[in-house]
């Protein structure tokens, strides 16, 4: 494999504590050398990439995406989803198992990882916790892990039964996998399509109460507490309520291994975005009140949040062009996460650049135990994002690399333009 030199850029590698001008040599898919400007000994034939004026950082890691394959290639394929991810600066994505059929077996996991899928960056499948994600019978976690699964979850079908969730946490811990829970007590959200509150009342829509999320987080934390096993890791997906964040904060103070992620739409938007039944503002968990949105921002700033994850959930236009109650949940997010995080978390709310990037790379990689990802120390995978931190640009959904266009951020101004995304030494994306 040819060598690639990234020269003249400013390296921000929060995991390694580096924030300085550095040149980097990538070789055979790994980081071979990191040196001060002009200090690299250039091998003959090395391709040189001029990163002058640009920020060089570990490739971004999104631990919550829906790539829709197998089964729903009309919404997205592994090829199109990872192309969108690369355009957004991501080099690793963890794919949720709510495919058709559900990814509850080593065969499907391996199918997703096969080269024929045409992934342009690294995909890490997440296995279903229970057979068919029906919440009844546990899958063989050891087999899923050896096929390549990095965690288990029933995602959109949260595990409600205490005994099943307890067994899931214990069994996953034995093989060293994390359990990701989409925290929603679905008994409280029947027929609901947005956040419960005055806005839902006025629009005549049934509401999902914040307690549907926080009560299940409380239940899960109680189970983790009772298991008394330091290997147990509960990860709360797309946290959207202040109450759930408080529960996570308290669990951590109690020394439990409980982590959480927040999606950009939950730290930027409120239920007001539903407006006149805008189905691109419909997702699960729903956009919440301004107080809950503010709680997400505070939790990111004060460090309780472990990762920013997009919950990239593509849907075809015709599926979203229906009555609000009938529209599927979810929005795309891979191409907008970095631009929104830099624009708001960094520029507006002054979260240091290193911490923003850490939430998008080092921390999520560590959380799922993705070795050699989320950092650019020597020997790590040559996963790199190179972006212009000063560039402002406007996102247009019609130009997306995803198959779907369902985003509430169409026309928004973003900060920081991705110039190159390099996945294991190969250029996966290059801006025009």
């Amino acid at each position: 494999m040819t060598a690639l030199v990234i020269r003249g850029g400013h390296l921000v590698d929060p995991g390694a504590g580096v924030d300085a001008a550095k040149d980097i040599l990538l070789k055979d898919g790994r980081v071979a050398e990191v040196a001060g400007p002009g200090k690299l000994k250039l091998a003959n034939g090395a391709e040189i990439l001029d990163a002058s004026g640009l920020t060089v950082a570990p490739g971004l890691v999104d631990i919550h995406v829906h790539l829709r394959e197998p089964g729903q290639g009309y919404k997205e394929t592994i090829a199109t989803g990872t192309a969108a991810a690369a355009a957004g600066g991501f080099t690793s994505v963890a794919a949720m198992p709510n495919t058709i059929p559900v990814n509850d077996s080593p065969e499907i996991t391996r199918w997703m990882l096969a080269p024929e899928r045409g992934a342009s960056i690294r995909v890490f499948p997440i296995g279903a916790a229970t057979r068919g994600s029906k919440g009844e019978a546990l899958n063989d976690f050891a087999a899923l892990k050896s096929a390549g699964a990095v965690a288990v979850t029933d995602d959109g079908h949260p595990i409600l039964k205490d005994n099943i969730m307890r067994e899931t946490l214990a069994a996953a811990a034995r093989v060293g996998l994390s359990v990701i829970q989409h925290a929603e007590d679905t008994r409280m959200t029947q027929g609901a399509s947005m956040n419960a509150g005055p806005m839902a009342f006025k629009l005549g829509l049934r509401g999902m109460p914040p307690e549907a999320e926080s009560s299940l987080v409380d239940r899960d934390i109680r189970l983790v507490t009772e298991l008394r096993d330091a290997r147990v890791h509960l990860h709360v997906a797309h946290t959207s309520t202040g109450a759930a964040i408080s529960a996570v904060r308290q669990a951590r103070r109690n020394g439990l291994r409980v982590t959480c992620e927040v999606a950009p739409h939950h730290f930027l938007l409120t239920e007001e975005s539903v407006g006149q039944y805008n189905t691109n503002a419909k997702m699960n968990p729903p956009l919440r009140s301004a107080a809950d949105r503010d709680a997400m921002i505070e939790a990111i700033l004060d460090g309780v949040v472990d990762a920013i994850a997009t919950d990239h959930a593509p849907h075809a236009t015709h599926e979203k062009e229906v009555e609000f109650e009938n529209a599927p949940n979810g929005i795309t997010g891979l191409e907008t996460a970095l631009g929104l995080s830099l624009r708001w978390l960094h520029k507006e709310w002054k979260l240091p650049l290193g911490r923003v990037l850490s939430l998008l790379s080092a921390q999520p990689a560590a959380l799922l135990g993705l070795k050699g990802r989320g950092t650019l120390t020597v020997g790590s995978f040559a996963d790199v994002v190179i972006f212009d931190p000063q560039a402002q640009w406007t996102y247009h959904a019609r130009e997306t690399r995803s198959k779907s266009h369902n985003t509430p951020f169409d026309g928004w101004t973003m900060q920081g333009k991705v110039r190159w995304t390099i996945s294991e030494g190969r250029v996966a994306y290059k801006s025009e």
Partner: protein
């Protein structure tokens, strides 16, 4: 640590939300909020003028114009009165209902709307079980859409005919309205507020004309946050206390089809909230009794009250035809700017 510190609300200088593109067509009536008081006055005076007009003259106003009624839910009053209203103005009407149409075969609202437009429909009157469906239909067809009831959301022509009924009883001769027209009038709405589009449209319309809206019902059917729907709305859970303050008593049906598994003790409900002749005589002897129908005699009100002298229930139905003539006329003749007739 300062215990009294007020948490700082994050200032989000987000891009200004695009101003609502709705209604796309000035003839649409999606929500009572589409109308300003000038628009309401215009509809009220047109309703009277059209009602009093020689039918043979009125017949020429929309002669051979095409009006489609698209009904996803059953209806007696609304469908018949819209149909009579459109026909009274000379229009051709066609009814498409969810049973016995391609909707049964899985056709979407968008495609059904586009098909009706291709067939020459110039306006679509929509009754739908999903809140917000008229917005989708208007956006996809760009035709004037008249909301004949969407889910639990709105029923604007019902609120307008209720207004006309109230004015006829309490402000006879009033042709125009403004923010004081109903000053001093308390309208109580009783019962299943949560599932009622009639309640939502009335609670958004009547306070803008000076009325006070008093909501009354048990917590399961009337959440506290209902007062946040708009200005001029309050809650009085005690039925008698509400009756004593009200000049208009609007009773609602319990919408069994929308209870979604909610368990309700009907005997208890009747004890607390049924409008009986005795309660009416004792606490609101001169109040106007209204009900959007269908009424369930012996549940929310007794037969004696429904048929009694204070009942305006059948007047409401009659006002419905006049109001809907004005609304259909506006839909097909409107090219003014948004919000006005």
């Amino acid at each position: 640590m300062n215990a009294t510190a007020i948490p700082v609300r994050r200032q989000l200088h987000l891009p200004p939300a695009a101003s609502s593109p709705f209604p796309f067509h000035p003839g649409s009536l999606l929500s009572v909020q589409d109308l300003d008081s000038e628009g309401i006055s215009h509809l009220l005076s047109r309703a009277t003028a059209l009602e009093n007009m020689d039918p043979l003259v009125r017949d020429r106003i929309l002669l051979k114009r095409r009006v489609a009624l698209l009904f996803y839910e059953s209806s007696t009053r609304t469908r018949t009165s819209f149909e009579l209203a459109a026909k009274g103005l000379g229009a051709d009407t066609t009814l498409v209902s969810s049973l016995s149409s391609s909707i049964e075969k899985g056709e979407t609202l968008k495609d059904t709307g586009l098909t009706l437009r291709a067939l020459g429909a110039e306006t679509i009157i929509l009754r739908h079980n999903s809140s917000g469906a008229p917005w989708l239909l208007e956006e996809t067809t760009q035709l004037p859409v008249l909301n004949a009831g969407d889910g639990m959301h709105e029923h604007p022509t019902q609120a307008l005919l209720d207004l006309r009924t109230i004015l006829a009883r309490l402000r006879p001769g009033a042709e125009t309205v403004n923010s004081d027209t109903l000053a001093g009038v308390t309208v109580m709405i009783v019962g299943d507020i949560l599932h009622s589009r009639v309640a939502r449209s009335n609670m958004l319309l009547l306070p803008r004309l000076g009325a006070r809206v008093l909501l009354c019902g048990p917590k399961e059917l009337l959440p506290d946050l209902a007062v946040g729907a708009g200005p001029g709305i309050s809650i009085e859970r005690n039925f008698v206390a509400a009756l004593q303050q009200s000049q208009v008593v609007m009773m609602l049906r319990i919408q069994a089809e929308r209870l979604a598994g909610m368990q309700l003790d009907l005997q208890q409900y009747k004890e607390n909230y049924q409008l009986t002749g005795q309660r009416l005589a004792q606490h609101a002897p001169s109040a106007v009794v209204m009900h959007p129908g269908p009424i369930i005699r012996g549940l929310e009100l007794t037969a004696g009250v429904a048929d009694g002298p204070q009942s305006a229930i059948l007047e409401q139905v009659r006002h419905g035809v006049a109001i809907r003539m004005a609304v259909v006329e506006r839909a097909l003749t409107s090219n003014g700017k948004r919000g006005q007739a």
